[in-house]
């Protein structure tokens, strides 16, 4: 029987909100292949977090795995896959998932298809699969053929909803890999917490500015609105490249990908690079002089006109509220 393994990451016992997303396509795949589905996580701390999922699987344990260590994670997973003869391994394509899977694939010298959105065909010639995967950060898709005995995939984040836990506690077996101590060379040695507070990734509202803002000073009014709404300021790549904002404020393919309740895009035309960073927002309000700007046409709401004038009026209106 085909065995499918889903790698689910936990960070010292905590699951990220999207951690379980890859399970959804995995369930479907298991159905269609009539395969068994199991999960794996690293570190005993993950046991409690993953048991409620209700799937059987493995908790990988080893002293070197005391904290996140991508090389060791990859080796451990590779050993599990080999020993237990899993033929399909799936993980979410977030930072760690992508990294661990790449290590595992490299160790086992197998291909890895990154950021899959659809497993289109599992009955291709010579046992090959056809999948749809993300390119250009989501602006384009690729139909790809995967020719290998073992099928390793990462699932594009924010593509599938995480499944509801079924409540039953799955039996998670402990798996102890053989890992040389030397692989601790790529383990986290220190964590630095930055000032508590909102970040681009967590803020419920992001007030973002682009070319239309015009200068670093002009971001002041965006800051003011963000403060009033309990959000943070973001920006486009143009603003970063012009030195108006630090890169940490950048929303986009090569910046931060965000999914706030409301994204307010001021003077941002909406190049591919930016759009893929903000498209997961629940609502988008675009403020732009150009009613045909790509971001305006893709937004849920828009105000046409000069952003400085509009923001000033909105701020005044908010302050005038009873």
């Amino acid at each position: 029987m085909t065995r499918i393994l889903v790698f689910v990451d936990n960070d010292r016992g905590t699951l990220s909100p999207s951690a379980l997303e890859a399970l959804t396509p995995a369930y479907s795949l298991a159905d269609s292949l009539d395969a068994s589905l199991e999960l794996a996580t690293v570190g005993e701390g993950g046991r409690a977090a993953l048991e409620p999922v209700g799937l059987g699987g493995y908790v990988i344990s080893h002293p070197v795995l005391s904290d996140y260590a991508p090389e060791a994670y990859g080796d451990a997973l590779a050993q599990l896959v080999s020993e237990e003869q899993f033929s399909v391994v799936i993980s979410l394509g977030d930072d760690r998932g992508a990294e661990v899977m790449a290590h595992m694939a490299a160790v086992l010298d197998q291909p890895l298809v990154a950021n899959v959105t659809e497993i289109a065909d599992t009955e291709g010639p010579d046992g090959s699969w056809e999948v749809i995967r993300v390119r250009w950060g989501g602006s384009l898709l690729e139909r790809a053929r995967l020719r290998s005995d073992l099928k390793f995939l990462t699932i594009a984040p924010h593509t599938f909803p995480a499944p509801e836990p079924n409540g039953g506690a799955g039996p998670l077996t402990t798996f102890v890999p053989e890992i040389p101590d030397s692989l601790a060379r790529t383990r986290v040695v220190e964590r630095v917490k930055l000032a508590e507070g909102l970040t681009l990734a967590t803020a419920p509202v992001v007030v973002s500015g682009g070319r239309g803002v015009g200068s670093a000073e002009n971001f002041a009014i965006l800051e003011e609105l963000a403060d009033l709404l309990g959000g943070v300021v973001g920006c486009s790549r143009v603003a970063t490249n012009n030195g108006w904002r630090p890169h940490s404020d950048q929303v986009g393919q090569t910046g931060t990908r965000i999914a706030p309740d409301l994204y307010i895009a001021c003077g941002i035309s909406g190049a591919v690079q930016h759009w893929v960073g903000c498209m997961a927002s629940k609502q988008i309000l675009a403020i732009n002089t150009d009613p045909e700007a790509p971001l305006v046409t893709k937004a849920d709401y828009a105000v046409i006109g000069d952003l400085h004038e509009i923001l000033a009026a909105v701020i005044a209106e908010i302050k005038a509220r009873p």
Binding site: A105, G137, A313
Partner: protein, 253 residues
């Protein structure tokens, strides 16, 4: 400090990507090409390390002859030496890319490995998230991805990567490898003398074999476009009340 940076030539699209008629690529007739953004920052990081610690920065690309444009650009912003690993313009899968790079890097290194090899976290176009890791594994060197800060401490590379709360720190013994993310540092623009120097730069060519891996691009397709009916809340300042109502509905006020 001898550093190698592996970069990829990618098109620089606007707001709309147009596919070629056969859907095998994107229509680049009107597009310029650039170094994939993460790698552009990696080059800058390498140049800054060299400026601080001495040594050389080598930039390597596997790509078509036109990729020389990106190599010259890297010279114009401070790279000392550039290497083209000639490839055709077809899609090389991550395994093929990694094995060709390994071959080329071994050729370049001989007996003296680079202290540091930097990659981009993922390329802007194909986004495989794995070439640097595969190369590191083949060379038996430590590697981390998502590099957002780098310092050299003796024979260790101190790398930082971002987390939701702040950042985590890694210490890798060198020779080491890392895949950098944009934001690790702000890339400089070339100067006129830099650009002129780059025109005269010698392009070293290191051949490598194409060994296909197990992933093959069949075709490209456009994602189904969500048709959004944009609600225009108004023009100019008069739209303010409408915006405030929206903020209330979303629950921000």
């Amino acid at each position: 400090m001898n550093i190698l940076v592996c970069v990829k030539r990618v098109p620089a699209p606007g707001a709309r990507i147009v596919l070629t008629d056969d859907s095998q690529g994107i229509d680049t007739r009107h597009l310029g090409f650039t170094t994939s953004p993460h790698e552009e920052c990696a080059v800058e990081a390498a140049v800054q390390l060299k400026e601080r610690h001495g040594g050389t920065t080598t930039v390597l690309t596997l790509g078509p002859p036109d990729a020389v444009e990106q190599l010259r650009y890297s010279v114009s912003v401070g790279a000392d030496r550039v290497v083209l690993v000639p490839a055709d313009s077809t899609e090389w899968d991550p395994q093929a890319t990694a094995s060709a790079l390994v071959e080329a890097i071994k050729d370049l290194e001989g007996d003296s490995p680079f202290d540091l090899i930097l990659f981009g976290n993922e390329s802007a176009d194909s986004g495989g998230y794995q070439v640097g890791i595969r190369v590191a594994r083949a060379l038996g060197r430590p590697v981390i991805s998502g590099l957002k800060g780098i310092e050299i401490d003796g024979d260790q590379m101190v790398g930082r990567r971002e987390t939701d709360e702040g950042f985590e720190v890694y210490r890798l013994p060198m020779p080491a490898i890392a895949a950098a993310k944009e934001g690790i540092t702000l890339p400089r623009y070339p100067t006129l003398p830099g650009r002129l120097k780059s025109r005269r730069a010698e392009i070293h060519e290191v051949p490598a074999e194409m060994t296909p891996g197990g992933q093959e691009m069949v075709s490209l397709l456009k994602p189904a476009e969500e048709v959004t009916e944009t609600v225009i809340l108004g023009h100019g300042a008069e739209a303010a009340p409408g915006v405030v109502r929206l903020l209330e509905e979303v629950g921000l006020l």
